[in-house]
Amino acid sequence: MPKKYETPLLDELEKGPFPSFVTEIKKAAAKNDMAADELGQLEKSYRDKRGYWKHGGIVGVRGYGSGVIGRYSSLPEEFPNVANFHTVRINSIAGFFYTSKFLKEACDIWDKYGSGLTNLHGSTGDFVLLGTTTENLEPIFAEFSSRGWDLGGSGSALRTPSCCVGPARCEWSNIDTLDITYSITQEWQDEMHRPAFPYKFKFKTAGCAVDCIASIARADCSIIGTWKGNIAVDQAEVANYAKKGMNIQEEIVNMCPSKCMSYDGKELKINDADCVRCMHCIAKMTKALKPTGEKGATILIGSKAPFVIGATLSWVIVPFIKMEPPYDEFKDLIRKMWEFWDEHGKNRERIGELIIRKGMREFLEYIGIEPQAQQVKEPRRDPFFFWTEADLQK
């Protein structure tokens, strides 16, 4: 019978209308010693206002430098069942489509070898298993790999690529986000499991600029679906939206970031040359508007939450690239970026930080991309455009 701890502070987190992680840990703690001690240590952390976890070290499975995050209690005498409480990341499937058979098997494996606590999904997108011992790592890996699953990324490596649900369930996806994610995962297995980068590197693929997975804020490389043609307008459907009470002037036209739309009460007009393809109007009037023409992606680099300079969004590097299997052009471009990072990056320096330190000009020159207007992040702040004496005399 697992030890029962008094948890008055954690109990507070069960009040209110939202699901509570404390309730879930308590359920696991009723039958699992690790979960019980985890709860006890967490209560102590809240009481003492400090964390009692150490992480890192030498744990892992043979041949892999990723996928297991060593975690240890700094109070092993008090909470012996969480003396080792390692996290295992299983490479999630693109779009998070699991069969119920797999979910049941994963839970059975985890009940057998771990705390029973999971995190679906971690902020990296992995299928996360929380809390196991060092000696159980190899058996867990064997169980999952025998069923066709693999570990995800961790450490100074390519992290498990993730994507929005894309064309599987969304009609607005301009690219096959699932196939791109699968292809990236297969192509760069070594980069994911044998850490050789200066620091972590994340890919996130969104089918359109609505960016449901917030790739622009969460990935070192954001791949965002876009299109080259015009937006087709069905004026009858526009009239229907107006009839149903939509204030088209306020909700659509005035919200357009490039002010490329106008509406006279009868007809919605779009100056496509000025459209920045943000998807706002299309997402609001799905029946009336749709993208046409060539589909592809915009490639952005460099977002990171806790930058020295503050949270940073990704920066457009390639305004449009065709994204068709086997994605050779895209992969070659990424390899050039990694070369630049490998050459100049310091330990624990993300690629976006390196670009800021070295300058966008040097980065673009190295990867062989010409400066383009779409790369200008903010008006009057384009320090990567330089002119030679000869240019100035023209």
Binding site: G56, I58, G63, G65, S66, S154, S156, R194, P198, D342
Partner: protein, 71 residues
Amino acid sequence: MEKEEVKKKIYELVEKSMGKKKLKSSDIQKTISAEAGISRDEVKDALKDLIDEGKLIYTYFGGSFVEIPPK
């Protein structure tokens, strides 16, 4: 250069750095390829063998490093 010789060089480099500096995989690749005049892919391949054989391991201390496993 024979792969076994590259593996030996890598192991010696990691051993020499023990207690002084933790080496990243890229540090090893750069150093050995420059010293031995071979490509980084060859070094990477030899390093992969050493890891798979358990003679070297990956560790994580705020970044990922390659080290000799504890006895």
